[in-house]
Amino acid sequence: MPETASIAVRLRQEGVCKLDSFLTQVCNARRLTPEEVGAYRNRSLTSGWEFHIETVLMTRRLQLLLDQRFPFSLPHFFLIDRPEFLTWPHIEEDGRLCLQPENKVAKPDHPAEAAGVLLGQAVDLICACEAGSNEDDFRTEFYSYWNRDLEESPGWIYSLLASDGPCRLVRIWRGEAWSVVGESEEKVLTWLQHSYGKQPQFDSTDLACFLWLPKALLPKQYPRTAGDIYRLAQMTSGGKLLLEQFSRKGKNPFYFILGADSGNGPCLAGVVTRTSPTVDVRGKRRNGTLNGFRPGKIPDSIFTPRLFSDASSASRLKAVRVDSAWIHGRGYDPHQAKLSKKSVIVVGCGSVGGPIAQHLVMSGVGHLDLVDPGTLDWANIGRHPLGAEYVGRNKAEALAEKLQRSYPHASIRGFNASYEELALRGFSATRDADLIISATAEWESESLLNLQHVQGEITGPVLYTWTEAHACAGHAVLLLSSSPCLQCGMTLGGKARANVTEWPEGNETRHEPACGAIFQPYGPVELQAALSLSASLALDSLLGKVHRTIHRVWAGPHALLLESGGKWSPTWLDGHPERESGGFQEELEWGKDELCPICSGSATGAPFASESETRDSASSLHQPFSTM
């Protein structure tokens, strides 16, 4: 029995026939020869047609070609009769038209109709190019053009610069294949050390010149000589003077960063100019810029244009932004400027604190201190940002190292100690932190933190986060002031006075076959919602969106709760039957306990009273799960 072609193959064969019929009968196209198709290198094109379109100026040949994914990819259009590359936007070196990038195949079995729609877009594009009405696209899509047609070994410049004016001198570390530029030597070298460790070559930087141009450059304006740079500098505010300074203080080769607003945000480009020495009649290589002047006597106004003249070549380089504003939101995140200056301490770098720390760094928090005395074990890596390569390392130090390398523009430290130990050593970072997050669920450190907060040693907000058994519920409590405090919602022994879930005896935890080895059984997926709860509250706090104490609760899906062997606590469901199904987040009050021994003012000065003095929750004024 003959083997039938697969659906994909049949669609392709039928699609080619349909397209051929449309193109030859409606567009009078001729089929391209295999040699003509093969002339398009590195495109993996399989077949094509050529036809003619009439525009305002002339008749032009247009080719339509298919690639190997057809009909699951759209046909490609190539303009044959076209001007030189980079004269018109949206046309690649071999004539391929870059049509609207959001086009997608909706119906693979209608290739002729797809081709008809794209044909209209192609003609629209060509007519706009002829009219010159889309010349500004060279600016709004600057990188697509600047980064093409570079020299074979362009080198890269990684930029930590703020992408904005004014023109200024900056610092550059020059490597063989790439360089790093930043506002100061410290910032550049710190970034390098964060990325690659303390290497001996990361010891110094040179001057570079940043020119902020009035507009992004068109291809015909791309600098080809140092003279072009000189002329560009004259177009900027303060650029001429800056160039004179650069000519004196900088050294050959001279690195420039050109920046401008593209219309789609700022764009950067790198240029390096090289002044070649000339050879005099005696065969000595001389710096021709000094001709006619004794050393040190040539005026800047003469020296600078000689140094940056058309006799010196300029090579274009690709500039890649690695600054925090770009990495976190590509310049569009309005919170970035604020977050990059924030400092957060995360106490506890386990399965809750570790991911929260990672999320905060990824969100753009600029400074992070991680505190944890624990060692990463194999059993941890199933729900921790750190993997096998860090087993046996201290969690805080290892996580700090990993995050620092991944986000070299941030500043991250790890402390191999408990919070209490650090406090006893006089850990001063707590005074300046914009937020302290406690993810230990350990009463020893949390009660100390709480006491420091209530008594004014810590003045910023503190966020306490924990999960209930099997991660079926999660809590995040943000305390802004000394009252209410954490103790208000806890028993004197540090247990939460109001829980969302309830568990039969012995079902909340599991044991490893070792002394004291008790753990909470949950995986990374069940934990995600609780992590998101806490991390988002942390960001809200850092961004000034929170002006009062908040308690956010995540109640997991009821199915997970039942599967894990638990149930909703009666107090959680009381008066709220809609909470039965779970799977939602709710914001509650963290009420002040008038009898709180820590913050009520009636405290006896013995904050860590014994259990026998545990307050009767029913008689206190603390109302568990009070809604907002």
Binding site: N28, H52, I53, E54, E102, K104, K107, H110, G116
Partner: protein, 412 residues
Amino acid sequence: MATTISFFPVDNGDMTLICLGDKSGKTILVDCNIRAAADDPDDKTRDVAKDLRERLKRDVNGRPYVDVFLLSHPDQDHCRGLKKHFHLGAPAKYADDEKPDNEKRIVIGEMWSSPMVFRRASVEHTLCEDAKAFNTEAKRRVAVAREKNCSGVDDGDRVLILGEDEDGKTDDILAIVVKVDQDITKVNGAESKVFKGRLLAPLAKSASDEEEEEYRKNHSSVILNMELADDEGRKTVKNFLSGGDAEVIIWEKLWAKHKQAPAVLKYDLLQTPHHCSWHSLSRDSRSDLGDKAKVSADAKSALSQIRDGGRIVASSRAIKDDDCDPPNYAAKLEYESIGKGAKGEFLCTGENPTEASPAPMEFTVSDQALRRSVKQASIGAPYVLTRPLVDDIRRKAAEAQAVQKGGNSRYA
């Protein structure tokens, strides 16, 4: 159907068919050059006779016919194949009715001929057999016209004399004579709303022998500026200037005559005289002077009255940068510069669409323009996709919603 002009790829020769867009759909063939190679089915040369037949109607007897055959001048490359492919003689003597259609000779409804052109040509060289046959047939038809006093002459017997003959030889048949600077408004016996041809040449016989010799040596030809409308509505009207092999002196004379009112030389479509020869633009010899040879300003002016977007077509083999003439590369550059000034286009029949496989080059008078097209009858597809066509294609294609616009609502 709109008026079309088809240039057949006949190497260095002329063969152009105009199909009028009115209800009559009359056809005017200007010259022909059907080479033996083209008739040879084993030869790759384009079968232009077949191309021509596909565009012609059949009369009540099933005979293919052209309404008008205009011979611009009697050089062989303008009438080759006439005897083989066209019926010459009285209609009653047509002998091909029993033959297959592709073997039936083509009936000529009306011949447009210039005795002055014939006289001058015959002095310069011996006429080829096809030219002689044309002349003989033209004389037969003139005799019929005389016999019928230029009235009631039927299809197949009609003739129009372009330019008065010398010595008053055509004074008795002025009803069928078109004088120079007069308009032809009838096509094969009937007034036409879509065709009007201003006869610009042959120039009248000169009293000066020297000047007359110049006319002869400059390939005196019929020069006709044809005003073509799309159809009877006349929403689009374009001019097609055709000048046979007329060379530089002729064009200089025309410029001298018309430079104060050059509108008569205005065109949207020019067939380069003498297959893009340098000698239509210059008195200088390029073989003697090379690049120092200069164009005649007056001749160039006469040939430069192009309207915006106009086309200049060289009916020639492919034009190379060599010493050939015709066609001549330097002449091509001159015509290209004329076209560029009007945002127009220069084309060559020997390169359309490719040099290896040339095909008829079609134009259609429609939609306020002179547009490239292909013969509508067979495949109904335009040669060139115009903007309105593209928009129509796009509009219909969009209904199928085969292309999704906008980004995904789901993100990775």
